[in-house]
């Protein structure tokens, strides 16, 4: 069945095509939500609606849900730290703040169109960019210097190089697979564990590899991750729709 919303044709700076393709590309992370001008999508939809005789309530509802989701994705990406800030406001305050920003943006758009006109009226303004052809060269003058600095520079060049340390050659990276198995084992016993607690006491290199393993598990959809705030403990939980097919080690 054709949908008034998903087939909505868009012509934006960053995207041209139907709305559902735009959503797909954003969800597949092939398009930056930050680059999408959401107001234009709303305008396109409203124009689409007014072109018809009666209001399609189903389409409006679907549109509201989708555009709200898109707005949330974009807002989270644009203002990661500000989400919390706005969330603390009362709804009226948040609405007020939003209106204030919209008004400010509207004024800046006006200022931009004034600048565009000005650029047009000042078309005939030609002036030199860069130095004049026969301008004098700027003279670089040096303050008086101490000859002892010359001595220090030469002595520096005469110092034999230190013995090269080979300590880092001994650095061994444990295989990622080792941590994959370890985390899976923990999750068989408990549905949730705390990453920081689990890797406490390990070396920094081991912790780094453990973190890579965690990201691999997340990518495969085996676990869900939650973190209340930056640098807060990372909670790892068994993913509800745990994939039954066994994970095979592709990297590591």
């Amino acid at each position: 069945m054709p949908s008034a919303v998903r087939d909505l044709e868009l012509d934006l700076d960053a995207f041209e095509g139907p709305f559902d393709l735009l959503l797909t590309l954003i969800l597949k992370e092939q398009l930056e939500p930050a680059e999408i001008d959401i107001a234009s999508i709303v305008v396109a939809f409203v124009e689409h609606l007014t072109a018809r005789d009666r209001i399609d309530l189903d389409a409006c509802g679907e549109f509201l849900v989708l555009i709200a989701a898109l707005l949330e994705i974009k807002a989270r990406q644009l203002f990661p730290e500000e989400g919390a800030e706005l969330a603390e406001l009362e709804p009226e305050e948040a609405a007020e703040e939003l209106a204030r920003r919209l008004a400010e943006y509207r004024r800046m758009k006006e200022a931009a169109s004034w600048l565009r006109e000005r650029l047009e009226t000042e078309r005939a303004r030609y002036f030199r960019l860069g130095p004049a052809p026969l301008a004098p060269q700027a003279e670089r003058r040096l303050a008086p210097q101490d000859p002892a600095h010359l001595v220090a520079a030469l002595r520096g060049l005469a110092v034999p190089p230190p013995k090269v340390s080979l300590a880092h050659m001994a650095l061994r990276f444990p295989p990622v697979a080792q941590f994959l198995e370890r985390f899976r084992a923990v999750l068989r016993r408990r549905s949730v564990f705390d990453f920081d607690g689990e890797v406490a006491g390990l070396s920094r290199v081991e912790q780094a590899v453990a973190f890579l393993a965690l990201l691999e598990l997340r990518r495969a959809g085996e676990v869900a991750l939650a973190q209340a705030a930056p640098f807060a403990p990372i909670r790892v939980s068994r993913h509800e729709a745990e994939r039954s097919h066994a994970w095979t080690v592709r990297s590591a």
Binding site: A34, L78, R101, Y105, M108, E110, A111, R125, Y126
Partner: protein, 205 residues
């Protein structure tokens, strides 16, 4: 006012007739790469501000639009020479205009924000425009219309940007105070609100 008396006495001290000073000022203007302020002219000529202003007055008459192909203008807080408007077509055949390739809408909105609210950081610009400002800011910096101006206070503060003297020159502004007041630009906002209200009323009836 003892202006004539003062002029004579200053002359006697400095020893340079005003037309010789005017020649020195025009020489400085023809080699400078940026508009020169009265202070800079005073420092370079080692003369006094009042006499430099007098010399500039003489030169503005000589290098006036319509009278000369070289025009002396007050711009970006200083004085600079440019080509007369009459010669714009010939200039267009030989030189690129400073902002030859049209500025995109994103770039214009961004430079407007920097001009009115600067110094501002990229996150602030993004907050107002509702889209990431990175590429718009980068292109403005590359064109020389916008430059870095320190960082926001606090450790790791974001870089802030302001418009450059080139911005003022390209747009023919003596200073940013010549930008129109934002209140005066709000007309369309009102119109949009009224249109929305009209639509709502039509639906209700």
């Amino acid at each position: 006012m003892d202006r004539s008396l003062r002029l004579i006495s200053t002359d006697a001290i400095v020893g340079t007739p005003i037309d010789a000073l005017a020649r020195t000022v025009e020489a400085l203007l023809v080699v400078a790469s940026q508009p020169l302020t009265v202070d800079e002219l005073v420092a370079a000529t080692e003369d006094d501000a009042e006499r430099v202003e007098t010399a500039l007055g003489l030169l503005r008459e000589r290098y006036a639009e319509g009278r000369s192909g070289i025009v002396l203008e007050r711009v970006a807080g200083g004085y600079a020479l440019r080509a007369s408007r009459e010669a714009a077509e010939a200039c267009g055949r030989l030189f690129e205009r400073p902002v030859e390739r049209g500025l995109s809408q994103a770039a214009l909105e961004t430079v407007a924000i920097v001009a009115y609210l600067g110094p501002v950081s990229r996150p602030e610009i993004a907050r107002i425009r509702g889209v990431a400002a990175d590429s718009a800011v980068a292109s403005l910096v590359e064109r020389g219309l916008v430059a870095e101006a320190g960082r926001e206070s606090g450790p790791g503060g974001a870089v802030r940007y302001r418009v450059t003297p080139l911005f003022e020159r390209v747009f023919g502004l003596d200073s940013l105070s010549e930008l129109p007041r934002l209140d005066d630009l709000g007309g369309e906002t009102e119109a949009i609100r009224e249109r929305l209200l009209a639509v709502a009323e039509a639906r209700a009836s």
